[in-house]
């Protein structure tokens, strides 16, 4: 009786192990053609004009892009300095404008989670701007997920450039 039970267990184990094989057959069907899309070159202008005479685009170029760590939306001290400067501009030269915060992510994922991560980044900046005295009603947000890269190389510098929030002024 014992040996029957034992052999049953052995057979069951063999059946189990047969089922857990992870081989997946992948079959390519069409010829591959690759078309690379040129990356947008981001130019940051830095002018010396007095604030009161600056155009909207001049002021916008003074608002520095804030970068984030991988899979994070918390603000580090470097980012906080940029936000403080942005808030000062928001109370002076840019006082008549509203601002749109554009959240972006690196290319790791085209799903909704990535869009939400971009949004949480924008929201972190919004909260920080409000804490610096900017009215919440002047700030709108949008997330572009991974769909608005400034750099498309497969390098760490490139990925970190895409994990960012841009400031766009609205009249």
């Amino acid at each position: 009786m014992k040996s029957i039970v034992l052999s049953s267990v052995v057979v069951a184990l063999l059946v189990f192990s047969g089922c857990s094989s992870k081989e997946v057959i992948v079959q390519e069907i069409q010829a591959v053609e690759i078309e690379t899309i040129a990356a947008e070159e981001r130019i940051v202008n830095s002018g010396m004009n007095p604030l009161s005479h600056m155009s909207m685009s001049d002021i916008e170029s003074e608002l520095l892009t804030v970068y984030f760590d991988f899979d994070k939306f918390s603000i580090n001290s470097k980012a906080q300095r940029k936000i403080t400067k942005a808030a000062e501009l928001g109370k002076t030269g840019a006082a008549s404008y509203n601002v749109k915060l554009e959240g972006n992510c690196d290319e790791w994922g085209s799903d909704e989670y990535n869009f939400a991560l971009g949004l949480k980044r924008a929201r972190s900046i919004k909260k920080a701007l409000v804490a610096e005295g900017i009215e919440a009603s002047r700030i709108s947000m949008v997330s572009y997920g991974e769909s608005n890269p400034v750099c498309e190389d497969k390098t760490q510098e490139c990925y970190s450039k895409n994990r960012r929030v841009d400031f766009k002024l609205l009249p």
């Binding site: 094989s21 079959q27 053609e33 690759i34 085209s110 799903d111 769909s147």
Partner: protein
């Protein structure tokens, strides 16, 4: 001995229908099929194009060892060509053009010298030949009395990123051979079919002051705005009857899942966690699965609508950021590596709510955006690997993956 047999029988009965267990079919034991082209009117290039499409479709059926050589014969010839003599099945077809320029097709299946199945097809233009190919594959599958592959005839809708803040919304067949750009220009993402008939769809427009969900009636070409939200808005799922939408919105800047009643235009917030809740998918009328960061990393949870019952569904994977469900099955995307500076691998995994098994469905690259077919027979997904974007299809019961590469751009999201 009786105990042994009954043990094996119990095991077999328990797991026979479980898609989380891989069944490795013996390729050698599949019946062989050879093709014979008896077409007139059309040039060699087009004949080969059609032949390749048909071979691809027959391969996806996973029922045959398909012979890849293009052979010709007369449609009414009594014998199959010599090279096809040992084939279990021969598929002979004839394409011909009628007076109105339509593509006509006669097809028959020959088994042991006898015609066992025959049908004819017609499409108005020759450049939509792939739909005939899909229809033939569908009919052969029915003839072989295998579980339906109705999904082959369904239309895929996807958004393709063509540059920073630039995208196209494209309608295609499941192999991407046919592509019709339905929305060009602008920045439009997350297309989602609005109903089973696939004659209308939703998408997110990111061009205006606020992200806006729009509805397009394909027949009338009428575009209407549904609802806007600060930050983001996505139509994640549509109920079977098309009456309720699962939206991810961020009305106060906080991404949460909402149900939206199409008729009354009223919405209701379904999740309230302060982190990220996205990607709601109907499991049935009253239950949804979704992605939440409530554990500190993205993972799959379920919720019974109109209650506060939330349950963690997946206990494997460091970062599970997308999912789709069909009945008792959930397919989800898991990050296999966690490196900010190198290429990461994302694979799709399948779980069943009734067992503890996890089945990995993909092996390399970035595999994401899984979407079950309506009948649960197949999973469509996006694969991005080495600068190449493809749409993939997984035949769960046959343990096979097929990839159909996109010629340009990157697939952002899709639905079928």
């Amino acid at each position: 001995m009786k105990i042994l047999i009954s043990l094996m029988l119990i095991f077999g009965l328990t797991f026979a229908g479980d898609a989380t267990i891989e069944v490795i079919k013996k390729v050698d034991s599949l019946p062989s099929i050879g093709l014979e082209d008896a077409s007139i009117n059309y040039g060699d290039t087009f004949k080969l194009q059609f032949f390749k499409a048909l071979v691809a479709d027959l391969n996806v059926l996973s029922l045959f060892n398909v012979d890849r050589l293009h052979r010709t014969n007369h449609y009414n010839a009594t014998d199959v060509v010599v090279d096809n003599k040992d084939m279990n099945y021969v598929l002979r077809y004839k394409m011909y053009e009628d007076n109105f320029g339509a593509l006509n097709m006669d097809m028959k299946i020959i088994k042991k010298g006898k015609n066992v199945f025959s049908k004819n097809y017609k499409v108005s233009r020759k450049n939509i030949y792939m739909f005939i190919s899909h229809a033939i594959a569908y009919d052969i599958n029915e003839f072989m009395e295998e579980p339906s592959v109705a999904w082959m005839k369904r239309t895929v809708i996807f958004s393709r990123i063509v540059g920073p803040k630039k995208s196209e919304i494209v309608i295609s067949d499941y192999t991407l051979s046919y592509q019709n750009v339905i929305i060009k220009g602008g920045f439009n993402v997350f297309p989602k079919w609005a109903n089973k008939e696939q004659n209308a769809f939703y998408y997110t427009s990111l061009d205006g002051a606020k992200p806006t969900l729009k509805h397009v009636d394909i027949k009338t070409r009428k575009v209407s705005s549904v609802i806007s939200s600060d930050g983001m808005i996505v139509c994640s799922d549509v109920s079977r009857d098309g009456k309720i939408l699962l939206l991810t919105m961020a009305i106060k800047g906080q991404p949460d899942i909402y149900t939206y009643n199409v008729a009354s235009k009223k919405y209701k917030r379904e999740t309230t966690y302060g982190g990220i809740d996205v990607n709601g998918q109907f499991m049935d009328k009253n239950h949804i699965v979704f992605i939440s960061s409530r554990l500190g990393y993205p993972n799959v949870f379920s919720k019974k609508l109109d209650t506060k019952e939330i349950e963690q569904m997946v206990y494997y994977g460091r970062s599970n950021s997308a999912c789709s469900s069909n009945g008792e099955y959930i397919v989800y995307k898991a990050r296999e590596t966690s490196n900010a500076f190198e290429r990461n691998t994302f694979n799709l995994h399948l779980i069943s709510l009734k067992t503890d098994f996890i089945r990995r469905l993909t092996v390399s690259g970035v595999n994401e955006f899984p979407r079950f077919s309506e009948d649960g027979d197949a999973i469509l997904f996006i694969k991005n690997y080495d600068n190449q974007s493809s749409i993939g299809i997984i035949r769960l019961n046959y343990n096979k993956n097929y990839l159909f590469p996109l010629k340009y751009g990157k697939v952002q999201s899709m639905d079928w």
